[in-house]
Symmetry: C2
DNA sequence: CGGCGTGGCATTGTCGGACAATAAACCGCT
DNA sequence: AGCGGTTTATTGTCCGACAATGCCACGCCG
């Protein structure tokens, strides 16, 4: 182990030269993705990693910074701190989509309507699958949400959050985690607008439509669920366009 | 400008303390997302940024490393190199989805079938929109792809790439860039399997079905397009299950 | 005159070491 | 036993230096 930096001679031709930082980053990434390092595991201290890889702590830190931004690890300062392996589940996909869509929207590289359109197209299979695959707990959670929506007044700041939870819950009940992540993420990015034009009438209608959707899911009636969600989405779209969505 | 580091006293209560790296990163991010810095623009050298922000180059570099990982900038070493503002369009969304889905699949946090299922659900609205919104150039490109697929032999290494291009082109023809990014990304992650069991018979049938889809899109017949894609997807699913997808 | 190596130069990449900031654990005083 | 200061392990930042990179200009040579 007396090898020193800078010795990658006589290797396969055409092999791209990897900078030290890239190699360190890749080695740690592979260790995580292969399961060698599991969720919650604490990596060795940066000085120790630097010693093991035989690079400077600066290089190790750049690799760790990149992995942190990729959400593969998270950093905790302090005595018992360190670099921990981040939990990586389907919510990561949702976060990634949210970030990217948010950037694209503020830059004007995509239109708001494109996001909303995709979300609506995803919600139809989501309710159908939910009606097919829902568990009893799903039903319980959905009824709870609808009850709280009925109780909330239209100017309650909780309203948008409840609506997002409602649609997210349905997507989760579908049993397809990719679908759930997409619906949740796209809903998160399209929600703020709903919040604007919310009259008591619209609020009551929304709750009624939500209830119809839940009833269909409870009855495991896929066609009824599809009808209900389409009515709901159509209703919302109408009451958005009326408000002038720039 | 004689202020020195470390002086953030007497500020709004509850205001989270931001580390220097976070502040630098945020300032640059805002500059990019606000349009102050445009695609292709060259940032000042790291030493100059360090001087302007009154932090060390190390800190600037960590901020830039994070922004690089987020694909907001890219770095070029060398004399005329520097940190450039990355092009941020809807393809960024596709890349983000690909990366995240890939991680989740190799970690076993999501199932392959979940990804394939969502993709198939998205392809239906994609062909319908394509039939409605296609341009003449879209038609040209699609016909070109199908022609090349017909010409290619089943063991041609181009086959998977052509299939991905075909489905991606349809999604692009829909006019919805979010939809196009999703379909393209999910297809990219689910394609390798198709590649396995590919007999000449299946190859011919695939080309025939592709042609039917294109014909429907050319005719702007949404219902026919939906029928055709559903037949195609069903056919593929059957010939995948037969092969035993672990 | 034109190609081509070659050395200069600006910039990023890495190094090494020091110190500051952080936060948990420890210890001692009451 | 509670409380507060102190120790300690680790990440965060600073500094200065040098290596690596890759464009550019210049000059050598054909």
């Amino acid at each position: 182990m007396a090898e020193h930096r800078g010795d990658q001679p006589a290797r396969m031709i055409g092999q791209k030269v990897l900078r030290p930082r890239e190699q360190v980053e890749e080695r740690i990434r592979v260790a995580i993705l292969s399961g060698e390092l599991k969720t919650g595991d604490l990596l060795p201290p940066e000085t120790e990693l630097a010693r093991q890889f035989n690079v400077s702590r600066t290089t190790v830190r750049e690799a760790l910074r990149s992995l942190t931004t990729q959400r593969l690890i998270y950093k905790v300062p302090g005595s018992r701190g360190g670099n921990f392996v981040q939990l990586i589940d389907h919510h990561s996909l949702g976060s990634a989509v949210i970030d990217s869509v948010h950037n694209l929207l503020t830059l004007g590289s995509i239109e708001f309507t494109e996001v909303a359109e995709v979300r609506q197209h995803l919600e139809v299979p989501a309710v159908r699958l939910a009606a097919a695959n829902r568990s009893d707990e799903d039903v319980e959670r959905l009824r709870d949400i609808v009850a709280r929506q009925k109780a909330a007044s239209v100017d309650d700041p909780e309203v948008p959050k409840l609506d997002e939870q409602f649609h997210t819950l349905i997507a989760q009940a579908s049993g397809n985690r990719v679908l759930a992540s997409f619906v949740s993420a796209l809903h998160h990015e399209t929600e703020p607008v709903h919040y604007l034009d919310l009259s008591p009438d619209v609020g009551r209608a929304t709750v009624r439509q939500h209830k119809a959707i839940v009833d269909a899911i409870v009855a495991k009636d896929q066609d009824a669920a599809e009808d209900a969600i389409i009515k709901h989405l159509t209703y919302l779209r109408k009451h958005l366009a009326a408000h002038g969505t720039h």
